[in-house]
């Protein structure tokens, strides 16, 4: 495999580009199929915009890929601080939508700082972890760095919790947790963190079932109703439970081959809410069946696989951690989104990466792929390293 950066004209990874083009096609088809019911019957309104987002995303990906990610190392703290300022700004001058205060209104464009913050945080933690080197630390050595990471993580989480945005919060916890477990900190510390995490989760579950009054103090009511809907869709058939049930019925009725493009009764009739954004997977499921959904899941898996390969080959530890962070973010979003439409996970407002309609999410995801590409392009292969490339 010739992976000499100088020989490439375009600074891109063909596997990633191929996968993204596949995603773009699937996304456009799915959005076009259902967008007739939105935007005043103009079924081209959303697909057109999504196509534009993809173009912009490609350019952003290419630009970031062409930059040397190692230069970022010095700037991550600055980014982190910038992100925190934006999050604090949301706290004071943010705009609200459906009970959540998540956006900054810059007149021309609305920005959701938590979208950026998750990247800045992962970059910064990657830097912190990369400095530890490759060898396992002892338990005592791990304490300081763990506390440091927890501190950096806790600050934005607190602000995001106040917005509230449970989905993003869980996504960050998942990504940071993954980074820590993959890093060189002592196994004992990893075990301790896992124990703490499991205990915390267990306590919440216990409180939910046995001391609901305490539980509900920490969880907002709109989040609660989603949890209800998830646990017992039939009983809460008016709200989220209803949506979930309709989505499940739709996906199920797709069976092996699906009902065909534009033929999904559930997704076309408005029974499945937000069919072009959060519930886009239901469109794929109902109209293209098990074949369609498994192809999409396999494509996602191939993407993760490609990023893992890049990480395995990378000789910069910082690059490895960036890849791990991106994998964690994608995995969480994909699993959470698809999981919620098939009833494995509670409903949160997390979109399906690359497929759901939405500019800012697509842009951040493409930028993430840009970073990964940059890591790949700057991986130096040595003459005596054939065995490595054969892995």
């Amino acid at each position: 495999m010739q992976s000499n950066p100088q020989s490439r004209k375009i600074p891109l990874d063909y596997t990633i580009v191929f996968l993204v083009i596949c995603f773009a096609i699937i996304s456009l088809i799915a959005i076009y199929s259902v967008s007739g019911q939105y935007a005043g019957g103009d079924s081209l309104y959303y697909p057109k915009r999504q196509l534009i987002f993809y173009f912009v995303g490609f350019i952003a990906m290419a630009v970031i890929a062409s930059l040397d990610f190692e230069l970022l190392e010095k700037w991550t703290l600055a980014f982190y601080i910038f992100g925190m300022i934006l999050l604090i700004a949301v706290e004071f001058i943010g705009t609200s939508n459906m009970g959540a205060k998540r956006w900054l209104d810059f007149k021309v464009i609305e920005v959701q700082p938590s979208e950026f913050m998750k990247f800045f945080l992962i970059l910064h933690i990657s830097v912190l972890l990369a400095r530890l080197g490759k060898q396992r630390l002892r338990f005592r050595e791990s304490i300081v760095v763990t506390l440091k990471i927890l501190f950096y993580t806790a600050l934005p989480l607190l602000l995001i919790y106040r917005q509230p945005d449970l989905g993003t919060l869980l996504m960050i916890v998942f990504a940071v947790g993954t980074l820590i477990l993959v890093s060189s900190i002592s196994l004992k510390m990893s075990a301790l963190l896992i124990t703490i995490g499991v205990t915390a989760l267990g306590t919440l579950v216990y409180l939910y079932f046995n001391h609901f009054e305490l539980f509900s103090e920490y969880i907002h009511s709109h989040q609660l109703s989603r949890i209800y809907g998830w646990l017992n869709p039939a009983e809460h058939s008016q709200g989220f439970g209803y949506q979930l049930q309709q989505a499940l019925l739709g996906i199920g009725s797709g069976q092996l081959t699906g009902s065909g493009f534009g033929q999904g009764y559930q997704v076309q009739s408005g029974r499945v809410p937000e069919a072009h954004t959060d519930f886009i997977f239901a469109v794929v499921g109902e109209e293209f069946g098990f074949i369609g959904t498994s192809i999409l899941v396999i494509l996602f898996f191939l993407l993760i696989y490609r990023i893992i390969t890049i990480a395995l080959n990378a000789n910069s530890l910082f690059g490895v951690y960036i890849c791990v962070g991106v994998i964690a973010l994608f995995t969480f979003q994909i699993f959470q989104n698809i999981g919620m439409t098939v009833g494995l996970m509670p409903i949160t407002g997390i979109a399906l990466p690359f497929i759901s309609y939405g500019g800012s999410a697509l842009l951040t995801n493409m930028m993430a792929l840009g970073l990964v590409t940059s890591v790949h392009l700057r991986t130096k292969t040595y003459m005596f390293g054939e065995d490595e490339s054969m892995e």
């Binding site: 005043g40 009725s253 098990f290």
Partner: protein, 704 residues
């Protein structure tokens, strides 16, 4: 390879673990998808395609109304109508336009160009333009508007459409207007409910054309609807009442009531008269049909859930032919009086008659003629018998006398002196002539006012001295007298089976003793003609007050207008109360009333009547103000019953605002004589012809 791994630490291993973890997660997803789509897919598909059941109700014919001899008074006339029943979830706008265009070739919404033009409003024009310019109109939406809900967005789209847009079309084109007018009706349809597109003036040709092409017009149906028709036109019409049109539907103010009763919004309901009072009887039971549809709205099957039942028919107590004659008599007399003395009778507009069977309360006739002076027309306004109240005058003296007996102020045979009464600072009060020492009988027979004044004074405990104020007047006297009057129906509800009835006017000043004297001679409180009829009926019926009723029985519709169906309910007389006076008192008043006709104030008009009539006359001062100018007129009133021995009819006649000249006093007597005579003559004619009251039973089916 192994040493390299060591050199690079354990990162690859951890990455592989991470990869394994991701692999497991994704495998879970695929597995779950397999469960959802393959394992449970069949069930999910079945549930999505599951047929839905929707019910729709089909109107049934409303009940008919007959008179007591089975003559049809209210009929259902078939009417051709074109309806549209949208499928489940409705048709798309394009589809509706397509239907409208096809239908427009077969029928015109209105032949008249101007009314056709008036049907199409600006909004309709906008909606029409929008259908052809969806893209352009949608492009006008701002990004903000695109986030709106569907209906708000649609409104925003329409707001962006300007006259210059829709005026691209020629809105003077008959055919275009016709298409848009039809489409407008189609737009109003609600899934699975028939909506009337046109039901007035559907020509036979249109009906035939649409019927032939039904297979090309999904949802369209050509049906026979019905219309309420009164074969006797205006006669008794205001009591039969009216119903709403299907476009008016159920009255908005009582919407919730009707909806909970199972009505749909476009159902026709009674809004006045018997149509309203007997709504639940006449309306029948709607047929409920359950449609089974698939998700595309195709109807797979229909099943009648509840069998419809036509509304039941009403049989009235009246004889429509006699009612017609009474109407004519009243109108003729009114006309004659107004035309012969136009100046004297310049304020006279009405003549009202109520005739009841005193023993059963059966309404024999209710009649009211009204003179429309501006158009010089005599019109039927019979409802005034129940809604208008008038100063009754001396006709109430029977009630006053009985009240006097009951309170012990006078007893049979009490002599009192009839002489002018002068209370300080009020006008002199007296009888029409000073009668001197008279007893209670003479007081009625000669219609003495002063005797009644003495009764009122006695009840209120007041001491009268000439030209001095009344001393010791107890204002409770008003309530005492009114309570007794209520027992006769004077000032209380008669209980007639109509949705509304007036209860008259009650004077509010109870401090002025002079007014109680007025009350005693019928110069203070006002009563309706029907109340007066109930009052005299109560006396005629030996003190038993029964409520008047128009409906005699309810019969099941039998689909044949010439015969009556089986009886469902036959109403027995509804006795309201028995007045508290002793039989001997009532007998005495009855006797006096008879003698009014033979030797008293009614002698001149009634002495020669051969049907043994008992009457009481009244001439009330009716002073009213017109544009601030005082007008003095008389209300001529007459109550009576016949035959005296075994009364079968009682009547009250009120002719308000007559002239005061001495030659103007006969109208109520003329009307009275004529209706009494006609009543008995008709009875005799029937007896001669061998038709008796039970004739109706012969024409009804053998049901019991």
């Amino acid at each position: 390879m192994t040493h390299k791994k060591k050199k690079r630490g354990q990162i690859p291993l951890r990455l592989n673990v991470l990869f394994l973890f991701v692999f497991i997660l994704f495998s879970f997803l695929i597995l779950q998808l397999g469960v959802v789509q393959i394992l449970n897919g069949e069930e999910a598909r079945r549930r999505v395609n599951e047929t839905e059941n929707t019910t729709a109700s089909i109107a049934v014919p409303r009940g008919l109304i007959y008179d007591q001899f089975g003559k049809l008074l209210l009929d259902n006339e078939p009417e051709r109508s074109i309806t549209y029943t949208p499928p489940k979830n409705g048709d798309s706008a394009e589809k509706r336009l397509e239907i409208a265009e096809k239908l427009a070739k077969l029928m015109m919404m209105d032949e008249d160009f101007e009314s056709l033009k008036a049907m199409v409003r600006e909004r309709d024009k906008k909606e029409y333009w929008y259908l052809f310019n969806v893209k352009e109109a949608n492009d006008r939406l701002t990004d903000e508007e695109k986030e709106l809900t569907t209906s708000e967005q649609y409104q925003a789209i329409l707001n962006h459409i300007k006259p210059e847009d829709y005026n691209e079309f020629d809105w003077n084109d008959r055919d275009l207007l016709n298409v848009v007018a039809i489409k407008k009706e189609l737009d109003q349809g609600f899934e699975l409910s028939p909506h009337t597109i046109k039901n007035e003036n559907v020509t036979e040709e249109e009906y035939a054309l649409v019927s032939e092409n039904l297979n090309q017009l999904p949802g369209i149906d050509a049906k026979i609807d019905w219309n309420r028709v009164k074969p006797y036109d205006q006669t008794f019409s205001s009591f039969i009442g009216n119903i709403t049109t299907s476009n008016e539907g159920i009255p908005r103010e009582n919407q919730d009531y009707y909806l909970t009763m199972g009505y749909s919004r476009n159902d026709r309901v009674g809004t006045s008269g018997l149509e309203q009072y007997y709504e639940s009887v006449l309306s029948g039971q709607k047929e409920i049909i359950q449609y089974t549809t698939d998700n595309n709205g195709n109807i797979l099957g229909t099943e009648t859930v509840k069998q419809g039942k036509s509304g039941n028919d009403l049989v009235l107590t009246i004889d429509i032919e006699f009612q017609k004659e009474v109407d004519q008599i009243v109108r003729e007399e009114l006309e004659q009086y107004i035309k012969s003395s136009p100046y004297e009778n310049r304020y006279m507009t009405d003549a009202l008659v109520a005739m009841l069977d005193p023993q059963t309360g059966d309404v024999i006739a209710l009649s009211g003629a009204h003179y429309d002076r501006e158009n010089d027309q005599f019109v039927d306004q019979a409802y005034r018998v129940i809604y208008d109240s008038h100063v009754p005058g001396s006709v109430v003296k029977g009630a006053t006398m009985l009240t006097g007996y009951e309170t012990g102020v006078v007893s049979p045979g009490t002599f009192l002196v009839d002489r002018p009464i002068k209370i300080a600072a009020t006008p002199r009060k007296q009888s029409w002539r000073t009668m001197g020492r008279i007893n209670d009988k003479t007081a009625i027979i000669q219609s003495s006012n002063v005797y009644m004044f003495e009764i009122a004074l006695g009840i209120s405990g007041a001491q009268y001295r000439e030209n001095e104020p009344l001393r010791g007047f107890n204002s409770e006297g008003f309530q005492i007298m009114r309570n007794y009057f209520h027992q006769f129906g004077l000032g209380s509800r008669t209980g007639i089976d109509l949705p509304y009835e007036a209860t008259g006017f009650v004077g509010s000043n109870i401090q002025d003793g002079g007014l109680l004297l007025d009350f005693a001679i019928g110069q203070y409180d006002n009563y309706t003609t029907l109340q007066l009829a109930q009052y005299i009926s109560t006396i005629a019926n030996d003190g038993y007050r029964v409520s008047p009723r128009i409906v005699k029985e309810i019969r099941q519709a039998n689909g044949n207008k010439d015969t009556l169906g089986p009886v469902i309910e036959r109403f027995s007389p509804n006795m309201l109360n028995r007045i508290s006076m002793d039989d001997q008192y009532i007998d005495r008043v009855q006797d006096s009333l008879r003698r009014v006709a033979t030797e008293g104030t009614g002698r001149g008009h009634w002495a020669n009547n051969r049907y043994n009539v008992a009457v009481k006359t009244g001439t009330a001062q009716n002073v009213f103000f017109e544009n601030g100018i005082k007008r003095e007129t008389h209300n001529l009133t007459l109550v009576g019953y016949a035959p005296y021995e075994e009364p079968e009819m009682a009547f009250a006649i009120v002719v308000p605002r007559t002239g005061r000249g001495t030659n103007q006093t006969g109208i109520h007597h003329n009307i009275g004589n004529r209706i009494v005579n006609r009543y008995f003559e008709r009875k005799e004619e029937r007896e001669e012809a061998g038709i008796d009251e039970t004739a109706i039973e012969e024409m009804s089916e053998a049901d019991e």
